[in-house]
């Protein structure tokens, strides 16, 4: 295990060393690039003055709030559309036409309507998260073993119990996968909104560092975002394995 993690570090370390050597050798002067050693120092500096931690808190807050709202909306729509074939066919064009609209294109409108701050960012993140959750939970519901639905019919379970006792638990593993994907999207969108407009969080940190002509600090933020995303993914993967590793799930009716 430790051997494998050491091997996993080999490639990035090699790249970093090569980059450092290249920067030093060519006496690179750039407003967008900096040698790894300086990036590490900048990251260290940002930690000591706590600015990066505050920015992380802001970004994660918006990302998670947006993720939660988007997931709930996407799940409700996805389950409804997944259960009803009629609804699915009727909504197809609408969903497929709205889905590819990049949330970033809606930024100007969101800014005017909601102003700077958490609210606008949360709305944009939620908009971006609704679609993957909707699409995947719809697919999850539609792929539920038809036999289980027949069992529900034969037992004459009322609709609410059908959703709660059969549909949600059966689709849960795949819904969680959708959630995991959306968590990554939420982080990316939150940072993008901050870079484009919102004076908050890690994205604003990147923009400020860039405008302040501090490429080392800018790249330090970038590295930090990568680390957060990596950690988030590991966390959710572990959670997924814990929850759904066996065929048995947590929604036991007992």
């Amino acid at each position: 295990m430790t051997g494998n993690s050491a091997k996993a570090l080999a490639l990035p370390l090699a790249v970093l060393v090569a980059f450092e050597v290249w920067v030093r050798a060519t006496h690179l002067q750039s407003d967008s690039l900096a040698p790894p050693s300086e990036i590490v120092m900048a990251l260290f500096g940002a930690f000591t003055d706590l600015s990066i931690l505050a920015a992380t808190r802001d970004t994660l807050f918006s990302a998670f709030a947006g993720l939660a709202i988007g997931t709930v909306i996407g799940l409700a729509l996805g389950i409804a559309i997944g259960i009803s074939d009629t609804l699915n066919r009727l909504m197809e064009v609408t969903v497929e036409a709205i889905r590819p609209i990049p949330s970033i294109a809606l930024l100007p409108i969101a800014l005017i309507a909601l102003g700077f701050g958490y609210r606008m960012e949360i709305v944009i993140v939620a908009f971006a998260c609704v679609w993957p959750v909707l699409i995947l939970s719809r697919a999850a519901v539609r792929s539920i073993e038809p036999r289980l639905m027949e069992v529900a019919r034969a037992l004459r379970l009322p609709p609410a119990q059908r959703v709660w006792k059969i549909i949600i638990p059966a689709a849960l593993p795949r819904i969680f996968v959708a959630f995991r994907l959306s968590a990554g999207i939420a982080l990316i969108v939150a940072v993008t909104v901050e870079i484009a407009i919102n004076p908050l969080g890690l994205g604003a940190g990147i923009m400020l560092a860039q405008q302040a002509l501090r490429p080392d600090l800018m790249l330090a933020y970038l590295v930090w975002i990568g680390i957060i995303g990596y950690a988030l993914n590991i966390l959710l993967t572990v959670a997924q394995q814990r929850l759904f590793g066996r065929a048995a799930l947590s929604g036991d009716g007992q």
């Binding site: 073993e145 036999r147 289980l148 027949e150 069992v151 019919r153 034969a154 037992l155 004459r156 379970l157 119990q161 006792k165 059969i166 638990p169 059966a170 849960l172 066996r246 065929a247 048995a248 799930l249 947590s250 929604g251 036991d252 009716g253 007992q254």
Partner: protein
Amino acid sequence: MASAAKRLETVPGTPAPQIRFDEVTLQLGGKTIIENLSLGVQPGEFLCIVGASGCGKTTALRLAAGLYQPTSGKVNFDGQPMREPRREIAIVFQDYGKALLPWRTAAGNVSLALEAGGMPSAERPARIEELLRTVGLPGHAGKYPSEMSGGMQQRLQIARCLAQEPKTLLMDEPFGALDAMTRQGLQDEVLTLVAASGATVIFVTHDLDEAIYLGDRVIGLLPHPGRIGIELSVNLPRPREQLSTREQPEFLRLRRQLFDFIKATEQ
């Protein structure tokens, strides 16, 4: 008045059939799957249906369960038309792996039927234990279906069906995917359970030996569209026994008759 009179007329003297197909025709996707099927199953009877693959056995069973509605004709249960599935009718699906909730333990799966029946949660555990004991799974209440062998899963499905306290048990090739030994064991178990509960059974299988071994009556379906091609009464004594019953001349005679019938339909 008129319909009551007619009902009395069609079954004079004999006890009223529990399940009755009245000239039932079913079309699916523009194709006629079942045509003009008329059939009565008496309370407590064990009826087996055999037939070549694709002849409509499963479809007939689903009609009896109320999962399909006939295109024309009527399916009655206890004299009432079947509009939708009823809790008095339990179905054992062939693919037990798919019909169990993988996220619930054995106890939880049985519990589902009790919950649907509205049994208060305090009374459930005792009943669940009893049912699991009945099907021979007493120590396995906490196991998930994925931790059970095929035979155990099928027994669990039967336990859930028994939890419905059904008047009628519909079984669709319930042992199709099991190995010969497990299969024979379960056949005997089903016979015992059914004898104890007095339920009516319709049992679909493609194994001719199994049909004769289990049934009071065996019906062979003809394909395209599905209709009755042969009907045999099985006059083998009960209780039946795996080796000796199968070696009786009557058994061999019935088997040859069914075999020739199926052979003829396959061409």
